[in-house]
Every structure is written in structure tokens, then in C-alpha cells.
């Protein structure tokens, strides 16, 4: 069995041999791991790797598992699944950088542009506030604002396109 698992930008292939109900052997490049594990609760797994014990806490989000180990947070994606999603027309990871969308759930507090406005890359477009912190979203490229999809005071979510800009360098 083979897993292609991505953390940040790096994908490693893990070769897995299941050796029992609660154990497997894994190989990544030259590194080999003897792994046994026990599920403690919905969110907690105890793991022993080459004789060393640790606990992993896991939650599943869209297309990834968020895993906490010893205070560190890892977002681990199955690269094969991510690939399928991308090729089937879903929104990839990179969209955020070419669209005016908030990084987190937020409230619109200032609209700096109106339809028809010409913007240069980096110009402020919308200011949003989340948990009392303001962030100004900027134009990802030069162009003309074709529509403004929100009003001041609106609650907005990541992925939601607040302003459409037609690419006109």
C-alpha cells in the first residue's frame, strides 16, 4: 500500500505493509518505521514508532487531516485525493491568491472600490474585520472592477469572492 502525503508543499511517498490489526511497517526513502497504534478516542490515537511512544490528536477537515503532536499542528493531505479534486474542476489551493476573498470568516467594514474602478496590483479593495482585527484585501492583479458582491457589514467566508476584477494589465 502506498500513501502520498503532503505537508505544506512537500509530498512524501510512504510505503505501508500492514502487519496486524493495529500495526504496520512503513518506509519513506531510506527511513523505516515499525508502527503500532491504538485508538483511544474519536480524536486521539496512541502510536509507538520504533519503540518511542507518542500521542496524536486528529480532526478531519475538507480533504485533509489536522494532526496535533506535542503541541505542533500538521495539516496532512492525501495528494492523490487532492489531485482528483483539482482535475475534476474543484477549487485548488492556489485560487486564494488570484481572488479577493477573506482568509478567515470576517465582517466587511470598508469597500474601497466600486464597479468600473481601475485598480493596480496591490491596491486596497476591501477591508474586513475578524475578531476585532482589521485586514485589507488588495487587488491580486491590475484590472477593472466588474462587480462588488458584498456590502459593508456583511459577514463573509473564505472562498467567497467579494469583488470581481477583470484582468486588464
Amino acid at each position: 500500500m502506498e500513501y502520498n502525503l503532503t505537508i505544506n508543499d512537500r509530498t512524501d511517498t510512504v510505503h505501508v505493509d500492514i502487519t496486524g490489526d493495529n500495526s504496520f511497517e512503513a518506509a519513506v526513502d531510506q527511513d523505516e518505521f515499525e508502527v503500532s497504534f491504538a485508538r483511544i478516542s474519536d480524536h486521539k490515537i496512541a502510536i509507538q514508532v520504533n519503540g518511542q511512544t507518542f500521542n496524536a490528536h486528529v480532526t478531519r477537515t475538507d480533504g485533509a487531516k489536522v494532526i496535533m503532536i506535542d503541541g505542533r499542528t500538521f495539516t496532512v493531505r492525501d495528494a492523490d485525493l487532492a489531485e482528483q479534486t483539482k482535475t475534476s474542476g474543484g477549487k485548488g489551493m492556489a485560487t486564494a491568491e488570484t481572488e479577493v476573498t477573506p482568509p478567515m470568516p470576517a465582517v466587511v467594514i470598508l469597500l474601497a472600490v466600486a464597479p468600473g474602478d481601475r485598480v493596480e496590483q496591490g491596491d486596497p479593495v476591501v477591508t474586513v474585520s475578524a475578531m476585532k482585527m482589521e485586514t485589507t484585501l488588495t487587488a491580486p492583479y491590475a484590472g477593472v472592477v466588474t462587480s462588488v458582491n458584498v456590502a459593508e457589514g456583511d459577514k463573509v467566508m473564505p472562498g467567497q469572492i467579494l469583488v470581481d476584477i477583470e484582468d486588464q494589465p
Binding site: 500513501y3 502525503l5 505537508i7 505544506n8 512537500r10 512524501d12 510512504v14 505501508v16 502487519t19 496486524g20 490489526d21 493495529n22 500495526s23 504496520f24 512503513a26 519513506v28 518505521f33 508502527v35 503500532s36 497504534f37 491504538a38 485508538r39 483511544i40 478516542s41 474519536d42 480524536h43 490515537i45 502510536i47 509507538q48 514508532v49 519503540g51 507518542f54 496524536a56 490528536h57 486528529v58 480532526t59 487531516k65 489536522v66 494532526i67 496535533m68 503532536i69 506535542d70 503541541g71 505542533r72 499542528t73 500538521f74 496532512v76 492525501d78 482568509p103 478567515m104 470568516p105 470576517a106 465582517v107 467594514i109 474585520s129 475578524a130 475578531m131 476585532k132 482585527m133 482589521e134
Partner: protein, 495 residues
């Protein structure tokens, strides 16, 4: 003592106040907005009153609704916590008018200290040194530019009202000044209902050191030593500790006296904090007085052994202070880390959402003042603080080690928290050596990203999770079964 009080706040500080009230046998009334119907503070209080929709202006900043809630529940006093109405002189004044005891100083003192310029004047009169800067609020961009020119860049634009890092902008060049002033003013208006700003000199390499004071209604004023709050990002403290590594015993004593002098000059009563900047030559300057309980009050409680909320309640109920200055003897070292719902990999942008699972660190010398629970929602409308993790140990090195251990054990799933960032920060050379100035994060951690040392383990955990789907019955050791379980016979546990 009071029979019943209302806590005009939410989150961890509301729970902190309720905790002491429970020990003192005082009934508590929580208030909540529609975003907080099942918030932790609502579940912890004896009574709960709805005060409005999620928007802070219509709920937790809604004077009328809160006064009405106190009257409807016959609460004798109101504890304002920090933030929200805690430093609003109108609110204190309304309480005074309505015969409800405001647990804090008088409205006059709040007004005078809240207006940073008046405060500065009072301190100058009392012989307490203040930072160079304006003595009036400013709205005219031209005047702002002129003053900045006089002080020399960098300068700091500050809201005359408020605190908590809101309404503050550091400005390095004239071209950014006016926009920064507008942003600070807007933020201050949103946070405190007052958009006035002023300007003061910004010290690039300074320490932020504050003294806790307690004053009763009989003229007795004490200090409870300092807190070092230099590690900040966006002018918001994230790590606080006591004692400070940079104070000599003499300087500590001198600043303690200045803090008491400042409190006396202000006619201060109840618990308060005198904030100082200490420059590289150990000159100290009065920055402002915070007329409320501070976020970071626990480190003082840990080293002095004194419950500050209890002291607030005793003072507000008309009791004289129980201690003399000589009886306040701090012991050991305490550190606090603020645990925010924020993503350290994305410039600390706040992360509202649902806490899917939480496991708090425990153990000797570990305290977690927490405002959420497994399953709780973290609303988008309020401050992203989830909890304050506090440790106490015999020495600073032991406290750092304890904090790192506690951060390792702190599990929060569902919203991102900066436990990994904080561990790296605490273990960094400059922090360990006590060389943390207010520019510490910009200087050493401006482009922090998590290392990849644990990546292999995380991948193996991913696979283990895939292989043991969580919805199945959980694996449990069977106490009545002396036959070895699969987990153990499979031979991967050592030996």
C-alpha cells in the same frame, strides 16, 4: 460581602471572576449576546441574562442592557472584567447613579486615567516621568505630521481611550502617518466608542514593564511587583512574566515606589496597573494606567500567592487591605502565554470556528484560565483569546521548561492556535537569555514557519487514523481479561 454580582464580560475573564465568586459564596449573573447562548461563561454562572445581538455595541458594550440586567437580578455589584466597558467612565458613573457598586475605581479616576493626556499631566505633577509626546488629542492631519516631525520617527499613534493593543499604530515615515491615524481612530471607535488619538515617541528597543497596584477606600496603596510584557505582536502582549529579567533590586524598588505614587496621585482605588517603558539605559517612563484587572494578572497571583479578584471584591465591598507592603513577598517565577484562535503560519490571522476537541494541560504549577470547551463556538465578533496558560516554578529556566511541557500537552482541534510558535519562541536564545524587547517578534520571528522535524510522525499518524476509523467502537484495555490484547501481542511495544 456581596450576595450576588453581575459579570459584564464573556470568555476566560468572566470565568475567572465567577471562579473566585464561587469560592466566596457570591452568586453570579452572566450576560450574553446571541452569539454566546451556550458560551462557557453562561454555563458557569448561577444566572444568565441575554443583553442583545452579537455586535458588541449592541450587547457587551450596551450600558443600558447591562444595567437593566443587574437590576432585574438584584445584583449588588458589577465586575467589568477587561476590555468592553471596563474602562468606560460613563458605565462606572451609571452604576454609581443606579446604586450598583462598580468593582473598580471611581468614574472620575477612570475618566482621568482613560484620557491618556490628563493621566500624563497628573503624573508629571506627581513627579513620575512620562514618555515624550503630545499632551492633546489630535484630529488634524497637518498637526499630526508636525508633531511627528518634532518627536522624530518612529512614532506611535495611540487611542486616548482603551488598551489591549487596539487603536495603536507604529509609524516609521511621514507617508504612512495620516492613513495610520485614520485606521487607529476607526479601530478605537469600534473597540471603545471613542476615536480620539494622540502621538508619542516610539522606543525601538524598550521593555514594557508594569506594576500591579491595590488601593482600598481608606488611603492604603500597595504594589504587587512587576510584570514584564515586552513580547508583543501588533502591540498586543502574547507572553508575560514576573519577575522581569532586567530589573535590579534597586530599580524594582524605585519603580514600585513610582507606581504607588502614581496610584496615589490618581486617587486610585481597587486593582490597577501602572505601565512603564524602560529604555536600554534603564530609564523608566510612565506610559499609562490601566484602571481594571489586566489580562496578565495571573502571573502576579502565582508569585505573590494573592487572589487579585478576591482583593477587588473585598475592596469594592468596603474592606481595608489585608496586607502591608512588607508582607507582599513574591516567590519563584511565573510565565503566561496567551492562547489565541489564530494562525501563526498566516500572519496570526484570527480563526473563529468550532472547538472540535480540547484537552487542557495539567500538572503541578500549571494553570489554564480558559473560556471555551470541547464543542464550543468561537464567534467572529469578539477578541480571539481562548485561554491563558500560566505556569509557576522555582526559577525562570524551570518556568520556561514547564511552559514548553504544558504547550506540548495543550490540544485544541477545530481552530488553529499558536502553541507551536510559542514553544519555538520560548526556547529561542534571546528569550532564554532574557533579551526580549518590544521589537522581539519583529526582530527574531517575523517570518516564522513551523519546522518539519515532526512531519514523518504526522504522516504515520495520518495512516494510523486511516486504519482505525474513529466511528468504530474505541479500543479499550479489558480489565477482566488477562490475555494480552492485540495492541500488545503484535510486538511493537518495546520488549
Amino acid at each position: 460581602m456581596f450576595k450576588k454580582i453581575l459579570v459584564a464580560n464573556r470568555g476566560e475573564i468572566a470565568l475567572r471572576v465567577i471562579s473566585t465568586c464561587r469560592e466566596m459564596g457570591i452568586e453570579t449573573v452572566a450576560v450574553y449576546s446571541d452569539a454566546d447562548v451556550l458560551a462557557a461563561h453562561v454555563l458557569a454562572a448561577d444566572h444568565a441574562v441575554r443583553i442583545g445581538p452579537p455586535e458588541p455595541n449592541l450587547s457587551y458594550l450596551n450600558l443600558d442592557a447591562i444595567i437593566e440586567a443587574a437590576k432585574a437580578t438584584n445584583a449588588q455589584a458589577i465586575h467589568p472584567g477587561y476590555g468592553f466597558l471596563s474602562e468606560n467612565p460613563e458605565f462606572a458613573s451609571r452604576c454609581e447613579d443606579e446604586g450598583i457598586i462598580f468593582i473598580g475605581p471611581s468614574s472620575r479616576v477612570i475618566h482621568e486615567m482613560g484620557d491618556k493626556i490628563t493621566a500624563r499631566k497628573i503624573m508629571v505633577r506627581a513627579g513620575v516621568p512620562v514618555t515624550p509626546g503630545l499632551t492633546t488629542a489630535i484630529t488634524d492631519p497637518a498637526a499630526l505630521l508636525k508633531e511627528a516631525e518634532t518627536l522624530g520617527y518612529p512614532v506611535l499613534i495611540k487611542a486616548t481611550a482603551g488598551g489591549g493593543g487596539k487603536g495603536i499604530r507604529r509609524v516609521d515615515s511621514p507617508s504612512d502617518l495620516v492613513e495610520a491615524g485614520q485606521a487607529a481612530s476607526r479601530e478605537a471607535l469600534g473597540a471603545f466608542g471613542n476615536g480620539d488619538i494622540y502621538i508619542e515617541k516610539f522606543f525601538t528597543r524598550a521593555r514594557h514593564i508594569e506594576f500591579q497596584v491595590l488601593a482600598d477606600n481608606f488611603g492604603n496603596t500597595l504594589h504587587l511587583f512587576e510584570r514584564e510584557c515586552s513580547v508583543q505582536r501588533r502591540h498586543q502582549k502574547i507572553i508575560e512574566e514576573t519577575p522581569s529579567t532586567c530589573l535590579t533590586p534597586d530599580l524594582r524598588q524605585e519603580m514600585g515606589k513610582a507606581a504607588v505614587a502614581a496610584a496615589k496621585a490618581a486617587d486610585y482605588t481597587n486593582a490597577g496597573t501602572v505601565e512603564f517603558l524602560v529604555d536600554e539605559d534603564n530609564n523608566f517612563y510612565f506610559l499609562e494606567m490601566n484602571t481594571r484587572l489586566q489580562v496578565e494578572h495571573p502571573v502576579t497571583e502565582m508569585t505573590t500567592g494573592i487572589d487579585l479578584v478576591r482583593q477587588q471584591l473585598l475592596i469594592a465591598a468596603g474592606n481595608p487591605l489585608e496586607y502591608s507592603q512588607e508582607e507582599i513577598i513574591p516567590r519563584g517565577h511565573s510565565i503566561e502565554c496567551r492562547i489565541y484562535a489564530e494562525d501563526p503560519e498566516k500572519a496570526f490571522f484570527p480563526c473563529p470556528g468550532r472547538i472540535e476537541f480540547m484537552e487542557e494541560p495539567t500538572g503541578p504549577g500549571i494553570r489554564n484560565d480558559c473560556g471555551v470547551y470541547s464543542g464550543a463556538e468561537v464567534p467572529v465578533e469578539y477578541d480571539p483569546i481562548l485561554s491563558k496558560l500560566v505556569v509557576h516554578a522555582e526559577s525562570r529556566n524551570l518556568a520556561i521548561a514547564k511552559m514548553v511541557k504544558a504547550l506540548k500537552e495543550y490540544v485544541i482541534l477545530g481552530v488553529r492556535t499558536p502553541t507551536d510558535f510559542l514553544m519555538d519562541l520560548l526556547r529561542s536564545d534571546p528569550f532564554v537569555q532574557g533579551e526580549a524587547f518590544t521589537n522581539f517578534i519583529d526582530q527574531h520571528f517575523s517570518d516564522w514557519q513551523p519546522g518539519n522535524t515532526g512531519d514523518a510522525m504526522a504522516r504515520l499518524a495520518f495512516i494510523a487514523d486511516e486504519l482505525s476509523p474513529p466511528k468504530a467502537a474505541t479500543v479499550q484495555a479489558d480489565a477482566n481479561n488477562t490475555v494480552a490484547t492485540p495492541f500488545q501481542t503484535l510486538g511493537n511495544w518495546q520488549l
